[in-house]
């Protein structure tokens, strides 16, 4: 049983992302980075210093950014297209659809500082629609690493087996919830904690919070399973079905809109079984007020205690 150490150090996943990308670029000349004037915020300064020709900065032009990425992939390179999540997915959604997913060009879209990482900058800068929008696109993998180790693995996997992919690269600091050697398998959730009463499915920043909720529930004698939804697409249908048959309720938690994200995906899978437990989806359904990321996560009920409360209600319901 994993017990979350609340005093554990936390990390900005962009650091692991940048280190891993640079390491891979040294070994494989097909690896290039593309950005929209976001060399700093995408942590690509080191990459630019070492590989100035392989860092393509198209300026503030996100439609061109994604189109250029598709062209680079078509030419035989492995482009990591980096931009703040809201602009990468919202501004260039049609490019992601037509040029990447439908055209099956192996572009690695890196949504930097996703969710509500930009806190007080407000909803224009929050990327909470990305999971809904991108889940609607066939042929696009959606990876949401929960910590620095999974971030490294996601980058490594993208080079080892390039395919159209969106990776959320977190900025809001998170504690480790996996070991460096834990596998990141395409289309699989990770079992973060075994349990048989209720299943908590967290993704990204919410995995450590789901683990905190499990600790609180354990104190009440409730045995919570925690799944780390590192892949939103392809979806781990098997793990969801197991949760639906082996536990009495499912609570999903995501730093994203619930209209089409992880919660919606889980609910659709459970409903398709005909009979299943209650699914409670935690996330956003309105534009955020002004506040820090931590404040906003609390505002939207995305904390350990709030997840635990939702689980108790779901079990009672």
């Amino acid at each position: 049983m994993t017990v979350l150490d609340t005093a554990a150090p936390t990390y900005d996943n962009r650091t692991a992302f940048a280190e891993e990308l640079l390491e891979l670029a040294r070994a494989d000349e097909r690896v290039v980075a593309v950005c929209n004037d976001s060399v700093g915020s995408s942590n690509l300064v080191g990459f630019r210093e070492e590989f100035p020709d392989r860092l393509i900065n198209v300026g503030i032009a996100e439609q061109n950014l994604v189109g250029v990425g598709a062209g680079l992939a078509a030419a035989g390179l492995i482009p990591f297209v980096c931009a703040a999540g809201p602009f990468l997915t919202g501004r260039s959604l049609e490019q992601v659809k037509a040029d990447v997913a439908y055209s099956a060009h192996n572009v690695i879209l890196c949504g930097m500082s996703p969710g509500m990482a930009y806190g007080e900058l407000g909803p224009t800068h929050h990327s909470v629609e990305d999971l809904s929008w991108l889940r609607a696109l066939p042929g696009l993998d959606i990876v949401v690493p929960a910590d620095r180790h999974q971030t490294r693995q996601a980058v490594r996997q993208a080079v080892a087996d390039p395919r159209p992919t969106y990776i959320r690269v977190g900025r809001h600091k998170v504690p480790d919830v996996t070991a460096p050697t834990d596998p990141l398998e395409r289309g699989r959730f990770l079992l973060a904690r075994a349990g048989s009463d209720v299943t908590l499915i967290g993704t990204g920043t919410l995995v450590s919070r789901a683990l905190a909720a499990a600790d609180l529930l354990a104190a009440d004698g409730i045995d919570a399973r925690v799944l780390n939804a590192a892949y939103i697409a392809p979806l781990d249908v098997e793990a969801i079905r197991d949760a639906a048959t082996q536990t009495r309720a499912i609570v999903t938690a995501e730093e994203a809109n619930i209209s089409g994200g992880l919660g919606a995906a889980v609910a659709l899978t459970v409903a398709a079984q005909g009979r299943g437990p209650v699914v409670r989806a935690l996330g956003l359904s309105e534009f955020a007020p002004t506040g820090s990321t931590d404040l906003l996560l609390e505002h939207f009920g995305l904390t350990g205690p709030a997840i635990a409360a939702a689980a108790r209600e779901a079990l009672a319901g």
Binding site: R54, Q63, G67, G76, A98
Partner: protein
């Protein structure tokens, strides 16, 4: 995925060689004949499918014929060769003319053209690279081809490949902002291996371009964005061959090909309603005679 039709590849090779070795007049005559065959094919496809974009298909035909039978360094028998010239039809709604050109180049059996837009056909109303060999990227929504072409040109340079990238945009399509983002990038990166061809037929779906969202002075705008501009008659094969010559210097090349929408069939030419109108059987007979 369809595969190459080798007998047709052999025919394409012969034509390609004849264009390369012929006098300018001979080459132009050969390309004119290929264009006539493409237009006849487009007419038949649209007649069968009862759908398509005949006006734009006919305005871009001579450009396509010149590129595939006279310029592009490609091998239709090996469409995935790592080093090859690239072509993108950004105005993807003119798929019938692209499919005809690809089939006559041998990328797939010309008999497949009969399935155009039919149930489960590989030949969708807009080109799909995962189903049609020779298609480099999926187009349809406007303003997508040029950014992808910029990426291909940049990528070829990074890989040290001697590759030229050609992209054809409609003139109405130049109203899309993404194109102007890409125009800036191509000039910034001095992509001399990139050629943009603008099919300047002066009509868009609903009206004349200049009455909708005027593009003029288009050549000046492109030059101001850092491109080398060449303006030609888009139905003059000899002029197109010259315009498609490699860049002089380090700037990307924009070819403004002045064309007539519906070129080749008198009652279709330069009429806004023929953007995607489908000819009646009688009109098809008349058109076929004009393309005899």
């Amino acid at each position: 995925m369809m595969t190459a039709h080798l007998p047709q590849v052999s025919i394409w090779r012969e034509v390609r060689t004849a264009v390369e070795t012929g006098s300018p007049d001979e080459s132009a005559a050969i390309l004119a004949e290929q264009s006539r065959l493409i237009r006849r094919s487009v007419l038949a496809m649209i007649g069968r499918a009862r759908a398509g974009h005949i006006g734009g298909d006919f305005s871009v035909t001579d450009i396509l014929a010149t590129l595939y039978f006279g310029v592009l360094r490609i091998d239709p028998a090996d469409p995935g060769a790592p080093v090859r010239d690239r072509f993108i039809l950004s105005k993807g709604h003119c798929a019938a003319s692209l499919y005809s050109t690809l089939a006559f180049s041998g990328y797939f059996d010309p008999a497949e053209l009969d399935t155009f837009m039919g149930p489960h056909s590989a030949l969708n109303g807009h080109p799909n690279r995962t189903k049609v060999p020779g298609v480099e990227t999926n187009t349809g929504p406007l303003g997508h081809g040029l950014p992808v072409a910029v990426g291909e040109a940049l990528g070829a340079r990074l890989l040290g490949h001697d590759t030229r990238v050609f992209v054809v945009c409609g003139d109405g399509e130049m109203q899309e902002g993404s194109n102007w983002e890409a125009l800036m990038s191509a000039a910034h990166y001095r992509l001399a291996n990139l050629t943009l061809v603008i099919d300047r037929n002066r009509l868009q779906q609903g009206a004349r371009t200049e009455d909708t969202n005027a593009l003029a002075p288009l050549a000046d705008k492109l030059a101001a964005f850092g491109w080398q501009v060449r303006e030609v008659d888009g139905h003059d094969h000899a002029a197109l061959l010259q315009a498609f010559a490699p860049a002089d210097g380090a700037r990307p090349v924009a070819v403004i090909a002045n064309t007539v929408k519906g070129k080749g069939v008198s009652f279709i030419e330069d009429r806004v309603e023929w953007h995607h109108k489908v000819p009646t059987p009688d009109q098809i007979d008349l058109a076929r005679k004009e393309l005899a």
